[in-house]
């Protein structure tokens, strides 16, 4: 069990309003990711859910119970932090068991749960060590283990992979995905990395400047972004935005086209342009063009292509994959 309802959550630090009325429904067993640029309020929202910050107004319900005045330890949550936040003076085992000990759980029960979590995360050989004797990846696994041991209704992750190197990040990401499948627990995860968001989430919440821009599954956000912000934030390289008037479209203000939805040709096409720069990534080739019709354009081609700077090329967008946005930056459906 572990559902969460947020109703018009507001949070202000002095005159600075960080969260401007957040409404959100998380169903039992869902993996929800908050994503957004730095300072958009995603971590603050997570801390409000955890009870580490009080919301200025609004209601938080976990499993239907109002939590506004419940202290963090009694909310049935567990949290994994970016900096791991392990207790430096305790062994791995005590780190994982401390929460249960504080809650007055019996020692035998604590031992079983710690052993189970340690088994899941292959931490058995390290149980007697202190955090200082572990590598970064192991520390993050201990932090995750500490959360699992509590058997919480809600798992909260605050950018758990940001301090890990690239290879370890992918590995730990897979572990977290596997964990979600096995535990079938509700998880809320904060990240600024859209790849993490796209690969892990059942549901992504895109936040910007303290407000929700769009909620949806990864593919919904990719295929049907609700506005210019989401369209630009989801997808890499970023979507090309072209002023509609340049293309003779009077019904919209901006036309968006993703780099992967543009075809290039040396002979003919819609927009004639000159190659400025090419990035060869092996699986992809990213071509940056300057065209008369659209200005700077990013094109993503699959596989290897032999374009070079100063080549003259023609770009043709896939008509079916164009995104049109109105004067308020909202998508025209």
């Amino acid at each position: 069990m572990g559902s969460l309802q947020l109703k018009s959550i507001r949070k202000a630090f002095g005159n600075n309003e960080v969260l401007k009325g957040i409404d959100l429904e998380v169903k039992d067993g869902e993996f929800v990711i908050f994503v957004g640029p730095s300072g958009c309020g995603k971590s603050t929202l997570l801390r409000v859910i955890a009870g580490l910050e009080d919301a200025t107004s609004g209601s938080i319900r976990i499993d239907g119970q109002e939590m506004a005045t419940t202290p963090p330890a009694k909310r049935g949550i567990a949290m994994v932090f970016q900096s791991y936040a392990l207790y430096p003076h305790l062994t791995v085992k005590d780190n994982m068991g401390l929460g249960l000990k504080q809650a007055g759980t019996e020692k035998a029960e604590i031992d079983t749960r710690v052993a189970k979590a340690a088994g899941m995360l292959s931490l058995d050989p390290y149980l007697a060590r202190r955090p200082a004797e572990l590598s970064g990846g192991q520390r993050q696994r201990v932090a995750i283990g500490r959360a699992i041991v509590r058997e919480p209704k809600l798992f909260l992750f605050d950018e758990p992979l940001s301090n890990l190197d690239a290879a370890l990040r992918v590995q730990t990401r897979l572990e977290i995905a596997g964990l979600h499948r096995r535990l079938k627990a509700t998880m809320i995860y904060v990240t600024h990395d859209q790849v993490e968001a796209m690969t892990l989430a059942d549901k992504i919440v895109v936040l910007n400047a303290g407000a929700i821009e769009q909620i949806g599954s990864p593919m919904e956000l990719y295929n049907k972004p609700a506005n210019v912000f989401v369209a630009g934030f989801i997808g890499s390289p970023q979507m090309n935005f072209i002023p509609a008037e340049k293309l003779g479209d009077t019904g919209a203000k901006t036309i968006g086209v993703r780099p992967e939805h543009i075809a290039l040709s040396r002979e003919s096409g819609d927009w004639k342009g000159k190659v400025i720069h090419v990035e060869h990534l092996g699986a992809d080739t990213i071509v940056y063009l300057e065209t008369e019709a659209t200005g700077l354009l990013t094109v993503r081609l699959f596989g290897e292509h032999a374009y070079a700077p100063d080549d003259v090329v023609f770009a043709t967008p896939d008509r079916a994959s164009l995104h049109r946005f109105d004067a308020n930056d909202r998508a025209i459906v």
């Binding site: 963090p72 330890a73 949550i77 567990a78 392990l86 207790y87 401390l98």
Partner: protein, 279 residues
Amino acid sequence: MSKARSAPIRAAFIHLALIAYTLVALFPVFLTLVNSFKSRSAIFSQPMALPTPSTFSLIGYQTVLNQGNFVGYFQNSLIVTVVSIALVLLFGAMAAFALSEYRFRGNTLMGLYLALGIMIPIRLGTVAILQGMVAAGLVNTLTSLILVYTAQGLPLAIFILSEFMRTVSDDLKSAGRIDGLSEYAIFFRLVLPLVRPAMATVAVFTMIPIWNDLWFPLILAPGEATKTVTLGAQMFIGQFVTNWNAVLSALSLAILPVMVLYVIFSRQLIRGITSGAVK
């Protein structure tokens, strides 16, 4: 560092300067120690010379240990110093934690108010303190000294410790709250161990002026039963005749306990630094 290693002349100059400073700093201590083992005439005839078999004398130490109640004075000094340090560290750390951890109205003002004592010498308030102690019936008690020294040590302690406590990871405290630790447990079990090096620094800074102080023992607790070592040593200094053997021996003895305390605290300091690892 590598640059200094590649320039041996520069390194030599640096070491020369450091050695010179060490000599200057240690010279009075050396003079005190050496002369405390000499006879009275040898102190005056050859103050710089090391004790030789003919000039060696323990008369100073004998005078100190036989005359007056020096063991008692030592005990008084130790009680006052240790209790004051303990109180300064406890209250200083608590105030520093409150100032650095919690957002409340007047937080900055309160911090400034508490730091004010660094800038205003407590001795300016001697008359008022004495009046207060007389009114409270605390004159000639160790309590009066402990209270004054605690007040004297707190501003710097709060200032240093609150800066250090700001560096303790917020996530760690949050993790503690989620695990159900009380605010006191977070303070005592998570934060204090991490700021131990700072605590040791504060302890050393607090300890030395208290141990060496003559002013407040003289004014607040000059009675025989509450004399501290520094005050006790004064009885050998007369207006016309000073028993130098006894004064130097008393001072040499007074160095010992403070050395022991210093070694204990500096151990803590080093251990704190090496066992760090917040993450």
